[in-house]
Amino acid sequence: MAKTYVPNRHHQGRLRWVILAGAVVMAVVMLIPFGIMVMNAFKSPSDYSSHGPLTLPTEFYTQGLVTFVNRTNFPLKLWNSFFISSLVAVFAALLSVLNAFALGIGRVKGNMAIVTVFLLANMLPQEVLIYPLFKMAQAVHLDNTPWAVIIVFTVIQSAFGTYLLASVLGTFPRALLEAAALDGANRWRTLWQVVFPVVRPTVVVLMIFFFIWTWNEFFIPLVLLTTPDTQTVPIALASLQGDRLMDAPTTNAGSLLSIVPAVVFFLIFQRSLTRGITAGAVK
């Protein structure tokens, strides 16, 4: 949508460059740690020990990446993470839509209280969940499978999704709902043919967040996934930290590899972010 904007009469050419420079400086500050990570990902261990982490590598060392990939069976970990994160993204988004539909549009009795109760899922510190979840997963023989992790994070992420979507759907135009009702649509059809298309951008944003958040989860997967064939990327990264020794260059190589999928995912879908987190001005 093109927006017309009345230019400021006191516009100064110089000022806009200053502001841009400021924003760029901020961006550089944000990126410095990433630069360090890339530098060390391609550094050999002896180079790192001799010169420290803040120098450019003396030679372009790719063995660290290779070692990491082979030692941790990275492709398998990548697949496990991708499998879990995508399913969580989809299921949690679905669950959020269903919940928010009832709460935001249906205005079920005490809806704001219910939203807050659902948010409890987000409020619980992880330590609270560890022991009980493990015991329950074991009881239903889901321990050491991705499903335990998927179920847990679907619930946790959908708490945020329900909250956001319910807030958004709370301002959904009644006119559209009534028109659909008068057309004879039942609630299910209203949901998928009237409501969902309008909030699709929001749902896509939720899926992005859910994917990235689940991808980076460490603690709960650490407890629920006990063998290397089921483990995810963050656990693979942690495996480089031994009892007393840490392999820094390989850790950086591994980190670089691990964030690539999340970054790519974000860059591809970030255009949807511009379409708005909240239901756009429905005119």
């Binding site: 030692r71 321990d143 495996s239």
Partner: protein, 441 residues
């Protein structure tokens, strides 16, 4: 339109659902029989969990052990799974109470780790097996102490719960080139050691690489305590056989010495937040001439150091920080305990022990004369000397669960000079007393 998308989504999820069902059988451990059971030979699967680095001496030794195991048990599949240290350290308690447990597992030694597992009934008592297979004759003195635990989880007596394979000890690594360049000789007494530190400082070089955010400071302190202590003190501190006075001579002298070293600048005042990794790196790149730390550094130092270096035992000490390496434990819920015992037995055999020894892993039942590399030989000889003198005195954070963090915090105050030595001792005495009470009752 939205509906077809929904259907497609469900279909995709449905297909994805089928995938893990096929992979399901690989999750966890099971007793899948492999190959054709060859008559009398055992069949099944042996699952081993460990967390040593793939290039470490232990891993190489254990690879050999697996080879030998396979030839002696042709019908058995061996699944060796490398774990994350973090995972095992934190989750062992939870995971071992479940059903998908390994048959034999590497685990840390001490009251706070193996002791807790033993007291919780999570690992099997190995008493009968140890006697039957002669492990208790191979492991004597301090080597046996770390493997035995009471039912309250106190180390040193009670049943055998863990079997060690290798050893570790804290020593003084030094930069020969820097010593030569500054005219400092290798010290042989405690006084000479301090003089060496002073000599470096006089030339403007901070002598000791240290780390206040992790274990090194505590281990240095403990070395100084041991300089003034005897075996009774160690037993009292570690095994609760007698009361320990935190303001007695041993600990007071050690803390005051450490404090004076910080004041004199022998230890960098920036060390409070440095991690062990930082300490190691700064020794390797030649910034500090001396690093007091453990044998686990040996392999990495050998590969990465470019100058002439060596090690010497902490001068003047008969007792040394050190112990056996990590233990093999057999989870109570393991399904193939006999196979586990066979494997443990193999790791104690000379063939395997000598592989560990050859790579600098400090074997406990090996033959040092088979080591060809002179540096490794000397390094191993130092360890053997300590064992022969029964000088292994374990680590300062062992007696009480969670004591590691207490010591780190206490010695950070020392480095930052925010507490006096007496105050530091007060600070670390309280959690010790509390923890001791909860074990001894």
């Amino acid at each position: 339109m939205a509906k077809t998308r929904l259907i497609k989504g469900i279909a995709a999820a449905g297909i994805a659902l089928l995938l893990p069902l096929t992979a399901c059988s690989s999750g966890g451990t099971g007793t899948s029989t492999a190959g054709t059971g060859a008559g009398t030979a055992a069949t099944g699967t042996l699952t081993i969990w460990d967390y040593e680095g793939a290039d470490s001496a232990m891993s190489k030794g254990w690879a050999k052990a697996i080879e030998i195991f396979k030839t002696e048990h042709p019908g058995v599949t061996v699944k060796s799974e490398k774990q994350t240290f973090e995972q095992i350290q934190k989750n062992a308690k939870i995971v071992l109470s479940g059903d998908s447990v390994p048959d034999v597992m590497e685990y840390n030694k001490g009251n706070a780790t193996a002791g807790v597992l033993a007291s919780e009934g999570l690992i099997t008592s190995l008493n009968d097996v140890a006697t039957k297979r002669g492990w208790d004759t191979k492991l004597k003195g301090a080597l046996a102490t770390t493997g035995k635990y009471t039912d309250k989880g106190l180390m040193g007596s009670g049943d055998w719960y863990g079997i060690p394979n290798y050893g570790e000890y804290v020593t003084v690594f030094y930069n020969k080139d820097m010593f030569a360049a500054n005219g400092v000789a290798v010290p042989t007494t405690a006084a000479e050691f301090e003089a060496a530190l002073a000599a470096f400082k006089a030339k403007g070089i901070t002598p000791l690489a240290e780390s206040g955010a992790e274990y090194p400071m505590g281990q240095l302190w403990y070395q100084l305590v041991l300089a003034n202590a005897n075996r009774d003190f160690v037993n009292g501190y570690q095994l609760f056989t007698s009361d320990v006075d935190f303001h007695g001579t041993e600990m007071t002298k050690a803390t005051e010495t450490l404090d004076s070293w910080v004041k004199k600048g022998y230890i960098s005042k920036d060390a409070a937040a440095l991690k062990a990794e930082d300490m190691g790196v700064s020794f390797i790149n030649g910034k500090y001439p001396i690093m007091v730390s453990g044998s686990w550094w040996f392999g990495r130092l050998k590969t990465e150091i470019k100058f002439n270096w060596g090690s010497f035992l902490f001068p003047g000490n008969k007792l040394n920080t050190g112990s056996t390496g990590n233990l093999w434990v057999v989870p109570e819920k393991a399904k193939n305990k006999t196979l586990a015992y066979d494997f443990i037995d193999i790791t104690l055999r000379p063939e395997v022990q000598n592989v560990i020894g050859a790579n600098g892993g400090l074997p406990i039942a090996g033959d040092a004369s088979t080591i060809s590399d002179p540096q490794i030989k000397a390094f191993t000889a130092d360890f053997s000397k300590i064992v022969a003198d029964d000088g292994l005195s374990f680590y300062p954070d062992w007696p009480v669960a969670g004591y590691y963090d207490v010591l780190v915090s206490g010695f950070q105050s020392l480095v930052n000079q925010t507490k006096t030595p007496a105050q530091v001792l007060d600070f670390i005495a309280a959690p010790y007393a509390e923890g001791k009470k909860s074990i001894k009752g």
